[in-house]
Symmetry: C2
DNA sequence: AGAATATTTATTGTCGACAATGAAAATACA
DNA sequence: TGTATTTTCATTGTCGACAATAAATATTCT
C-alpha cells in the first residue's frame, strides 16, 4: 500500500510524433496494469500521466477511454479513474470462459494450422522453456500467454482470438499474484502439456487437441483456485 | 451513394449536462450504424457531428474511440474515420463464433435461470410475436437480439454475454441487409423455435437447450448464407 | 502535353484554459 | 461536543485555437 506513486521516470525525451502519444500511454499503462506494477484499485491520475509523458491531457484521456473499453481501467464519472480491481466473486465465470476458449482455439489450430504457424508456436515454446530454466517468472507468464495466443491465431477466428487474449491477460494478473510465492514444479509440468499440445496440432488431431487443452485448462484453474484458498486462509489468520 | 450526409437534424436543444455529450454521440452513432442508417464504409465527420450535437470535437472524439474499440468504426490515422465495413470474406469466422455463443449461453441459461429471468424472457418473446404480426422488420430484428441477450444474461457469464451481444449486433447489420427483401415465413419459424427454447430453459433441460440453440443457429446461418449467395448472383448478373 | 514539383485545402491530433462537479475541510450552530 | 451548513480544493469534462498531416490542386519545367 504505497501512498507514493512509483513514478517510473519516463523522460519526455525527443518530441513525439503526432499520434504517438496516445499509443505510448496506452501501451505503457496496459503493461503496468497487467504486470501489477499498478495495483488493482489504485487511482490513475490524468495530470501526472500527462506530465510523465510530456503531453497534454487530451491524448491521455483518449488512452484511458481505450483502456476502459477493454476493462483494464474503471472510470468513476466526474470523480477519478482506477485500475480495474480483480473480480474475485465472479472468478468462476472467468474460469469457465477461459476453459472454453482454451478448447476452441486449440481445436481450430489443429484444424487450420499452417507450417509457419507451427514454426512460430515451437519458437515460443522454446522461449517458455528458457524462461522456466532461468526461473524468470515474469517472462514465463508473458511467454506462456503469447504461446497460447499464437495457437489461437493459427485457428484463424478473430472473435475467439480476441476474447482469449483478453482472458489470458486478465489471467496474467492472477498468476502474478500467486505464482512467485510457490515453487516452480508447476511450470515444468505445463512444459510437457505444451509439447503434447503442439504434437496434436502438428498431426491435426482435433479430438486430442481438445482433450489436452481441456486438461491444461483444468490444471491451471485448479491451481489458481488452490492459491486463492490458501491466500484466504492466510488473510483469515492475520485478521484474527 | 449519397454525397450529401443525411443530417438527421439533432437540435442542440437544452444545454446538455457534463458527461452527457459523449454518451449521446456514442449511443446515437451506435444505433445508426447497426440500423444501417449509416452505410458501412461511409465517412464519419467529427466536425459535423460536433455541430449536430452542439458540442465541441473533444467529446465527439472520445465517443469515436469507444466505437472504434468495439469495431463499429475504423479510424484511418491522420486521415478520417469510416463506419466499419461488413467483413464478408471472414463471415465463416463470424458464423462459427455466433453458433458457439448461441449454444453456450442457452445452455447456461437452462442451468442458472431464475423465475425473474423467465418472466423477462417471455415478455420479450411476446414483443417478438407482436413485431412478427405487425410485419415490423426493424422491430423484429431488435427484439430478437434483445431476446437472446436476455437469455445470455440468465446464464450469468459476463464474458459470454458481452461477446454474444457483440456478435448479435454485427448480425443485425447482416439481417438488415437481406431480411426485408424476402418473405416473412422465416421469422414465423423462429417464433416456434424460440418457444421450444424457452420451454427447455424453463424445465432446466440443458441438453435440449443446447440442441435447440444449435439448430436455431444453423437455421439462421444457412438463411443468411442463402441471402448472400443470391445477392452475389444478382450482382454478377449486373456486372456482366 | 506530360511528368515533376510546389501550393493550397481539408481535417486531424494536440494544446492550454476554464467551468462544473463532488469530496474534504472549515465554519456555524445546537 | 456533535451535527448541519458553507467554503475550499482537487480533478474532471469541455471548449476554441493552432499546428501537423496527407490529399487535391495548381504550377513549373522539359
Amino acid at each position: 500500500m504505497s501512498l507514493e506513486e512509483p513514478v517510473t521516470a519516463q523522460i519526455p525525451e525527443t518530441k513525439r510524433k503526432r499520434g504517438q502519444g496516445v499509443g505510448a500511454v496506452y501501451e505503457t499503462l496496459r503493461h503496468e496494469i497487467l504486470n501489477l506494477t499498478l495495483q488493482p484499485g489504485s487511482p490513475v491520475d490524468e495530470v501526472k500521466l500527462a506530465e510523465r509523458f510530456g503531453i497534454s491531457r487530451t491524448p491521455v484521456r483518449e488512452a484511458m477511454v481505450k483502456l476502459a473499453g477493454e476493462g483494464l481501467v474503471v472510470t468513476l464519472p466526474n470523480r477519478f479513474t482506477i485500475v480495474a480491481p480483480i473480480d474475485f466473486p465472479n472468478l468462476s465465470q472467468f474460469f469457465d470462459a477461459l476453459s472454453l476458449m482454451y478448447r476452441v482455439t486449440t481445436r481450430l489450430a489443429a484444424a487450420n494450422r499452417t507450417e509457419e504457424d507451427l514454426v512460430a508456436i515451437r519458437e515460443l515454446q522454446r522461449g517458455y522453456t528458457q524462461a522456466v530454466e532461468a526461473r524468470d517468472v515474469p517472462a514465463m507468464i508473458e511467454v506462456n500467454r503469447n504461446f497460447h495466443v499464437r495457437i489461437a491465431q493459427a485457428g484463424r477466428n478473430r472473435y475467439y482470438t480476441d476474447l482469449f487474449a483478453r482472458l489470458l491477460d486478465e489471467g496474467r494478473r492472477l498468476l502474478r499474484l500467486y505464482y512467485s510465492s510457490h515453487n516452480d514444479a508447476l511450470p515444468r509440468m505445463y512444459l510437457q502439456e505444451h509439447e503434447d499440445m503442439i504434437a496434436a496440432i502438428d498431426r491435426q488431431d482435433i479430438d486430442a487437441a481438445d482433450r489436452i487443452a481441456q486438461a491444461h485448462a483444468q490444471q491451471i484453474v485448479r491451481q489458481i483456485q488452490t492459491y486463492i484458498t490458501e491466500d484466504r486462509r492466510l488473510n483469515a489468520d492475520i485478521s484474527l
